[in-house]
Amino acid sequence: MKIIHYFWKQVKEGLADIFVVWRDEFSLVIHDAAILMLFIAAPLLYPVVYSLIYSHEVAREAKMVVVDQCNSPETREFRRMCDATPDIEVVGLCANMQEAQEALRRREAYGIMVFPRNFSSALANKEHAYVQLYSDMSSLLYYKCFLLNLTEVSLKMNKDIQIQDMSNATGREEEIATTPIEYEEVAFFNPKSGFASFLIPGFLMLLIQQTMIIGICALAGSIYDKKQYHVLEPIMRHKRGSFRIIFGKALCYMMFYGLMSAYLLWVIPWMFNLPRMGDPWNIVAFMLPYLAACIFFGMSVSVFIKEKETAYVLIVASSLIFLFISGLSWPAAAVPWYWKALSYFFPSTFGLQGFVKINTMGATIPDLQTEGIGLIVQICVYFLLSTLVYRYRVMKACA
């Protein structure tokens, strides 16, 4: 009986402590404009701006000029077919190469297509006829448009030429003789190869982690700066006091980010028509550990932050490192092993991969073993680390 009574008392006291910490942290957050900017304004507005930037998804009508030294029916046909593709727009005919290069310099066009004088005579004489493509490389996207579409057009014209050459064969025979093997290409998960569909889901996960870490570090830094850690001392002196402090604070952050995640992962993809293959419950089940890992990670990192403002200076730029190391902007298979090893320390690596798999590729929780185990290990490690951090800071403040 006594044991039950004792246990009950402990639970009551624990919950009361957690509540006090939660309430204090909550009031700290809502009275701090800078933190509200991080926790609410940034997640509300930033994804909208980013989605707008990439809203056209792909480059369309990349501008190109043509230097046609041959000007024959064949070259005109080739030009017309290029212009007819949705990706290329022929904006002008130039008399010579100098004129075309000038158009590139003035950024009126990003590519030059050149037909040499002997283009048609080469075709007639059964020699290779060359089309030269010059592309400005300041945008890889335009280069890709030119390359893919010119190749496509040349394949088509080549086939027509071969069929003309075999004038005595029947239609079906021609078809088979020019293409003995047919092929079919399918782009999974993001059929338009769109930039927004590819970048935004990962970006949202990164945004959650980054605003959260900066916010948590700024809060911790400002308490440290104002020398107010001793306020937590009475709770710390309780049994498992540091657990209660961590839980209380984590609960507060979880509340904000639970709401924001619903907006980020549900409203934003709906607003901008991004891939939404994931089952909502799977997303919820994945987000809870991700948010927890981010929170405890942030609390652990906060040991380095002694001032509210330094949180920004030191952490903001790391976003790009996380973006590249997580395998979104740079294929994970091409990340060197040492950076890959480092990447396992960050929740964003697993969060980003996992969310893209659920949201864009329709994976379910059982498919996400690596990510799930990774996040759970991170939660455990960072939870223990953060209790140590807070115990260290509170005790130091009281000493």
Binding site: R105, M137, Y183, F189, S193, F198, I214
Partner: protein
């Protein structure tokens, strides 16, 4: 005098050294080692070979021989391969149907299929290119055999196969090196992030530690000499880092820099100064440090996307195209692409040079406000 005082502060705090020297060194080390191969290679793909014939196996071997494709698995059927893709183990699937060899040899026109995962667009599009090439080549190889069998010479067969050849000349970056494409803007961009943030911090910390009034008294209320004296040490240090970046990128790594290193150094100097001016402007606008730091963070991080070096500005909605001009990194990118990558005359980007110089007026514009802040404001957290 103000400058000496600032140097003393810089050396008294670890934060300055970390954010001006250590982090920038880490950034360049990170990105250059990450992209050391220039192009990602050996991207994992799976093959579903339902035929298992010598023709199909030869095609698969040829696909595996491409530098960027690595066949990591032979799946027994398509759904197994698809599961692998969903788990993120592979970015592409190449499917060869049953009776492939028989159908090829008997002219029944078999159909191969390839599937790429575009949720990771870089890897997906690279595999797409290799798989498409091998499909066309495979078709061409069969056709070539046919034509040779008909008594054509090899040369004539090749010409008949491909009468029109597209030859590409990627200007300035012939190897399509991703490091060239990304690092030359990413790294200066990261430096610019640090500059803006640190400028705001260095200005704000005076008010926070209640030293700003004394500082103004020291120079008889002359806010311009406060600005110059305070910011010059950062200009020098960051310019030193930018010079280091430029030397590593354009001398050591040999990235394209057609108009010479001094030309790029000028561009870097303009970026450093413009970023500092932006910092001064943002702090004076909202003299509450944590809020102006938040603003700086949003603006500088946005500049990576809106400067248009990955997704072209011309493809963004009209309003954003206009706003892109407000970001220093946009002009840095235009000047770099024009001068460094393409080697055109600076004349073609005179507008961007003017824009960079316009930033230098921002601090003058807000100087009176900054003086009042320094004179009367107290620290708000």
């Amino acid at each position: 005098m103000v400058m000496m005082r600032e140097w003393r502060q810089i050396f008294s705090r670890k934060l300055y050294i970390v954010s001006m020297v250590i982090l920038p060194l880490f950034f360049i080390g990170f990105f250059l080692t990450l992209m050391q191969d220039g192009l990602p290679k050996d991207l994992p793909a799976a093959v579903v070979d339902m035929d298992q014939s010598s023709v199909s196996r030869r095609l698969v071997r040829q696909l595996d021989a491409f530098k960027q494709t690595k066949i990591v698995a032979h799946a027994k059927d398509f759904s197994e391969a698809r599961k692998m893709m969903q788990r993120g183990e592979i970015y592409g699937i190449y499917y060869l149907p049953e009776n492939f060899e028989r159908d090829v040899l008997s002219f029944r026109q078999p159909k191969v299929s390839f599937y790429t995962s575009n949720s990771f667009i870089v890897a997906g599009s690279m595999l797409f290119r290799d798989m498409k090439t091998i499909s066309i080549l495979g078709s061409a190889a069969v056709e070539r055999e046919l034509r040779l069998a008909k008594g054509q010479t090899m040369e004539q067969a090749m010409i008949d196969l491909q009468p029109i050849v597209v030859e590409t000349h990627p200007l300035g970056n012939p190897q399509l090196n991703y490091a060239v494409y990304l690092c030359n803007v990413l790294l200066p961009g990261l430096l610019s992030v640090m500059i803006v943030l640190l400028t705001v911090y260095a200005l704000g910390v005076e008010v926070k530690e209640m030293r700003s009034r004394k500082l103004l008294d020291m120079v008889d209320d002359d806010i311009l000499s406060v600005m110059v004296g305070k910011l010059l040490p950062y200009t020098l240090t960051f310019m030193l880092m930018a010079t280091f970046y430029d030397v590593v990128l354009y001398r050591f790594m040999g990235f394209p820099c057609h108009n010479g290193l001094p030309n790029m150094l000028l561009n870097s100097l303009l970026l450093v100064l413009a970023s500092q001016s932006l910092g001064v402007f943002l702090y004076s606008l909202v003299p509450i440090m944590s809020i102006s730091l938040s603003l700086s963070a949003f603006i500088t991080m946005l500049s990576f996307s809106i400067s248009g070096f990955t997704f072209p500005v011309g493809e963004m909605p009209g309003l954003l195209q206009t706003w892109a001009n407000v970001f220093p990194l946009r002009h840095y990118f235009l000047i770099y692409a024009n001068n460094g990558l393409n080697g055109y005359s600076s004349y073609y980007v005179w507008g961007s040079y003017v824009a960079m110089l316009l930033y230098l007026f921002l601090p003058i514009l807000v100087s009176i406000r900054l003086r009042n802040v320094y004179r009367y404001d107290t620290y708000k957290p």
